[in-house]
């Protein structure tokens, strides 16, 4: 895929997000992570719990003050957006869909008020009628019945609630959506519905997604590029198919070997490949090195040759 003439909508540069800085229990949740997201693509961020993927997402939407580094959205540092007007504008452009469709909707609000909250804050509707029309349109867009707008969240199933969450995010017509494990809490059959809806909306509204998940098969399916995180660091970034079928980093290989496949023959033959994280602990300076076009691996200088060899064996065009 050619990225040279594509616009970077988001640039994360050397982001460090530490908690309890300077104390004994300092946590380096995100440790020097850099990546770009191009306009109109879906960037999948995968990793185990505690790998820092959610923290990265939250830092991007500026729910945290970054310890070090910067997040540039359309070229502007999100931490330097000051003033109510600019803040509002930023929040309108970037929205979030949350993991838990049960906890992320206010149980005391009607669906129409949940969806319209953004519309109200940003004064996007001139009058009540327009507000109602917008809400009903949004509900229909996400595949819900517009007659449901005066119901409360508890009257909906998990999949329907996630659709409400998506409608809420779409209400302010954002450019960029962070979806933090949007399907993990849903049944398999409903997951496919929500993923299809997200793909459809992406094309219709020219959206860019940061899709955070631990389910690798779904991430591969929805993403154009994938970033793999572990211990707060980015270990590998590359085109989705390539990372999935030709992983370069040991951790990615191990993670992929753990994904259950709905095929008994494959499962019987499966061998899980354990990962030895000690190598990450040595103090060699490591940076993201581009091994094949757009395929980066976190490597120390003396490891580059080894990854290049791996890439060559896998049939990638080594740079």
């Amino acid at each position: 895929m050619d990225y040279t003439d594509r616009k970077k909508i988001l640039e994360v540069k050397n982001l460090k997000q530490y908690f309890n800085v300077g104390k004994n229990d300092e946590v380096r949740a995100v440790d020097n992570v850099s990546f770009d997201i191009y306009e109109g693509e879906t960037f999948g961020l995968v990793g185990e719990s505690g790998s820092g993927k959610t923290t990265t997402g939250r830092a991007i939407i500026h729910l945290y003050e970054p310890t070090v580094g910067e997040v540039l959205f359309n070229g502007k540092d999100v931490a330097k957006i000051k003033g109510r007007k600019d803040q509002l504008e930023f929040r309108k452009e970037m929205q979030m869909i949350f993991q838990d469709p049960y906890a992320s909707l206010n149980p005391r609000m009607k669906v129409k008020d949940i969806v319209a909250e953004g519309i109200d804050i940003h004064h996007l509707a001139k009058n009540d009628q327009e507000r109602t029309d917008m809400v009903e349109n949004l509900l229909e867009t996400v595949g819900l019945n517009k007659d449901h707008s005066s119901r409360y969240p508890h009257e909906f199933s998990g999949g329907q609630r996630q659709r409400i969450g998506i409608a809420r995010a779409l209400a302010v017509d954002p450019k960029f959506i962070i979806a933090d494990e949007p399907i993990s809490a849903l049944d398999v059959s409903i997951q496919a519905q929500v993923v299809n809806l997200m793909k459809e909306l992406q094309i219709k509204n020219n959206l860019t997604y940061l899709f955070i998940a631990h389910d690798l098969s779904m991430v591969k399916y929805i993403s154009d590029r994938i970033g793999v995180m572990h211990y707060g660091r980015m270990l590998e970034i590359g085109p989705a198919d390539e990372v999935y079928t030709k992983p370069l980093h040991d951790y990615t290989t191990s993670l992929l070997s753990a994904v259950p496949v709905p095929d008994p023959e494959v499962e019987r033959a499966r061998k899980q490949i354990p990962y030895e994280p000690t190598m990450e602990g040595d103090d060699k300076p490591r940076t993201m090195v581009e091994i094949a076009p757009h395929h980066f691996v976190r490597a120390a200088e003396d490891e580059v040759a080894m990854y290049q060899e791996r890439a060559e064996k896998a049939g990638l065009d080594v740079l």
Binding site: E48, S189, I190, A192, A258, V259, Q272
Partner: protein, 373 residues
């Protein structure tokens, strides 16, 4: 599931369970029958609300107060579990039939050291001394792969990670060497790498302890490597059951097709995932006919009228769909399913061609020729 083998450890016959709610009677389990053989793993697969958890909870007498057994039997060692008193159930629970729950965070007592929690069933059921029970708890802790078990036995649950906690929950469930282990979505809350470890551990322990497992999940990927047999549940009924190979390579029910199809596999490229449209029916008022008909692109006219009986595909494989009726027109399953079936055919070249046998079961009470089509 009809099977009269004597080696059946558990036999559930025509189980019907309703829940009394403010809105009315929810018919959660609508005539479910299955059996569990000694040493095997039976997976019960289905969406939330399909009744898989209720079914297994009733095996242990753990259903909520508003549950009403509307009919059926659960035979365990020749006795009907449903007729037992709470006191008798306490003798079985945790000893003969043990359970692992979905959420390891909430199924452990946060105020009790884990050693005590593991030893507790032994002290209660086997009346062993506390010292001996703790010694056995230590052994079990090592068996489930907790490193430095001697020291960690005195730790509290919050000192462990999610995967380690699930290992502790497994240790508690297995300490009495139960004959049946019910695992209710044991890995849903865990990461894939930890999930793989826990599944491997369960398989290893099953061999060591010779226990039978009922594995409940909505994730078909997980059961492909775990199960010997699979029962697919939908809207309070079993719609298809068979060996793991039969369900994955020769699925017959459109719902099973839908489940298999909605998961992306390695060779799923871009394009639409084939989701099952719509949502499961409201069991307050279950639809007439086939409950899946409203979401089923292959539904026949008869599906709206009459519930399909089980049609026999092989001695171990049955599916409740009218598509298997010899009079139904042949349909072409979705491409990915056709691929699976092609693989099945390849797997069976030695046996000759697989003919679709169409001997409906329960014909007498369910079928009446006059009102079909």
């Amino acid at each position: 599931m009809e099977n009269n083998d004597t080696e059946n450890l558990i036999e559930v016959k025509n189980l019907k369970i309703n829940f009394d709610t403010y809105a009315g009677k929810v018919k959660a389990i609508r005539d479910v029958s299955f059996h569990l053989k000694k040493g095997e793993t039976l997976a019960i697969v289905g969406e939330s609300g399909s009744g898989k958890s209720v079914t297994t909870r009733s095996l242990m007498g753990l259903n909520a107060d508003n549950a009403e057994i509307a009919g059926g039997q659960i035979m365990f060692h020749g006795e009907d579990v449903l007729k037992k008193s709470e006191k008798e159930m306490q003798q079985i629970r945790g000893k003969d039939i043990a359970m692992i729950f979905q959420d390891p965070m909430t199924s452990l007592d946060p105020t009790m050291k884990i050693g005590r929690q593991i030893a507790e069933p032994l002290i209660i059921h086997n009346h062993v001394s506390k010292k001996q029970a703790m010694a056995q708890a230590l052994e079990m802790l090592k068996l489930v792969g907790i490193t430095d078990a001697e020291h960690r036995i005195n730790d509290y649950p919050h000192q462990f990670s999610g995967g380690m906690r699930q290992r502790i929950v497994i240790a508690i469930a297995l300490i009495c060497y139960p004959e049946v282990l019910i695992a209710d979505e044991p890995t849903t809350a865990l990461d894939v790498t930890i999930q793989a470890q826990i599944l491997k551990l369960m398989k290893e322990l099953q061999e060591k302890i010779e226990t039978s497992i009922i594995f409940i999940t909505h994730d078909l990927g997980v059961v492909a490597g775990m199960a010997d047999r699979i029962a697919v549940m939908y809207a309070g009924k079993i719609v298809e059951y068979g060996t793991v190979d039969e369900i994955f390579y020769n699925p017959q029910h459109p719902y099973t097709w839908g489940l298999l199809n909605s998961m992306p596999t390695l060779d799923t490229q871009s394009g639409e995932l084939s989701a099952i449209p719509g949502t499961p029916p409201d069991l307050l008022d279950p639809p007439k006919g086939d409950a899946f008909a409203a979401r089923n692109p292959y539904a026949l006219k008869i599906d709206a009228e009459q519930e399909p009986p089980f049609f026999k595909v092989s001695d171990t494989h049955y599916a409740a769909t009218w598509l298997l009726d010899p009079r139904a027109e042949k349909v072409t399953p979705p491409e990915a399913i056709a691929k699976r079936q092609a693989q099945w055919a390849k797997m069976h070249t030695d046996d000759g061609e697989l003919v679709r046998p169409a001997t409906p079961l329960n014909t007498a009470d369910n079928l009446d020729d006059s009102d079909r089509e």
